[in-house]
Symmetry: C2
Subunit: 240 residues, 2 copies
């Protein structure tokens, strides 16, 4: 039996474009791999040899300058696609933020398979277009928003993206609010990583956390946990 049959992202990842037989073929060229938090799957500037689907966990995409400044240029969640198909080079590193599980393909195998299955390519196109939209909205944050606005925007986006779709309709109690995102969640980022997403320093991020808490927009039960106390206020702080 193909591993795909029991895959929890089967219906949300680009694989949803495939029927049972096609999926069996794809399964033959792919393999699963577990990653521990902190482990890297690809490195910046490397030849593009692998692509993958995220099954579980959160990973970051990052680049940096010669002199060591780092910028996280994307964050991927279950069902997202990673890697650079149809091109020779990966422009950013990929590193697991939490323990993660991915479904890996050799790039050339995947490229060939995708070209032969337009429905799959179409899904990949839709996903890439959506990611481009999201990335461009992030440019507004990096270019024009204040530190406070950046952190507020970031927390709001996280609260939406961390919702596990399978659960979105199962609950709508305090754990998972169907409409507006999670009220409480665990950060898959350290303070330094948040700084690297927002283009700030760790100290500025920390100060904005304490400020948002002092103003009653959020609560911080522990370092890695955030509760949104006043969503309206947080949205106002995000200033879109």
């Amino acid at each position: 039996m193909a591993a795909c049959d029991t895959c929890i992202v089967r219906n949300r990842a680009i694989c949803a474009a495939l029927d049972h037989d096609e999926l069996a073929l794809l399964n033959q060229i792919g393999r699963r791999r577990n990653l521990s938090a902190g482990e890297s799957l690809m490195w910046e500037g490397e030849d593009s040899i692998l692509v993958a689907n995220v099954i579980e966990g959160v990973l970051k995409l990052s680049t940096g300058t010669e002199d060591g400044r780092e910028q996280i240029v994307g964050v991927v969640y279950p069902s997202d696609f990673i890697g650079r198909p149809f091109g020779p080079t990966t422009f950013h590193g990929v590193t697991a933020l939490t323990d993660a599980r991915v479904c890996l393909f050799g790039r050339s195998d995947f490229d060939a398979f995708a070209r032969a299955h337009p429905a799959l390519e179409h899904k990949l196109l839709e996903r890439t277009l959506a990611e481009l939209d999201r990335t461009r909205r992030w440019m507004l944050l990096l270019g024009r928003k204040s530190a406070g606005e950046r952190l507020a925007s970031f927390l709001l986006e996280l609260s939406e993206r961390l919702v596990i779709p399978a659960c979105a309709h199962a609950f709508d109690d305090e754990t998972a609010a169907a409409e507006s995102g999670l009220r409480r969640f665990t950060l898959p980022f350290s303070r330094q990583q948040i700084a690297d997403v927002l283009g700030l320093t760790i100290e500025t991020v920390s100060r904005q956390f304490t400020r948002l808490k002092a103003e009653g927009a959020i609560d911080l039960p522990s370092r890695r946990e955030v509760a949104i106390v006043d969503r309206r206020l947080l949205e106002a702080e995000a200033g879109n």
Copy 2:
């Protein structure tokens, strides 16, 4: 005779994926349109009803905050694709920076045509992936680079992107250097627009221009013209 036959971007735009007959069909659903500098083709948040290929000219993609801060999130050149296919909303405005000419399609017509022609979708996918790479590299600039580095990076990118491919092999004299980009070019941006690309203010941009000139990296024959005097130095200033 189809207008496409004489189109100067015929072999570089996504249309290159199509044969003569397919092109004739596409031509039936498209129309040309001229835009004057400053004219907008789409607005932020609008329903996505149009998509287009750029034939001639330079256009900006931009978003802003409620309170009027603006960020240019992309710049498109001849043969680039604009608009948001397969999605209901355009997340950014599209405005001509120079006089321009585009090949316009109704989005639903284009979507249908693209789905029926996988080779076209494939080209669009490659283009979207390349644009996503470029956009992510821009995030590093916005998140982590100084004003001087931003302007230097911007000028270097412009000098590459403004090369007219048709000429790239015809000349390699002082006008168009095949390898390293133009040595001298006209800015399709005002100072304010450059500020909006780089996430800076107009004054900071101006000061960095005069600094780069004083250091001998560039020359400014006029407000709208730039000559790269010392490319090495400019590259060093860009600090990648």
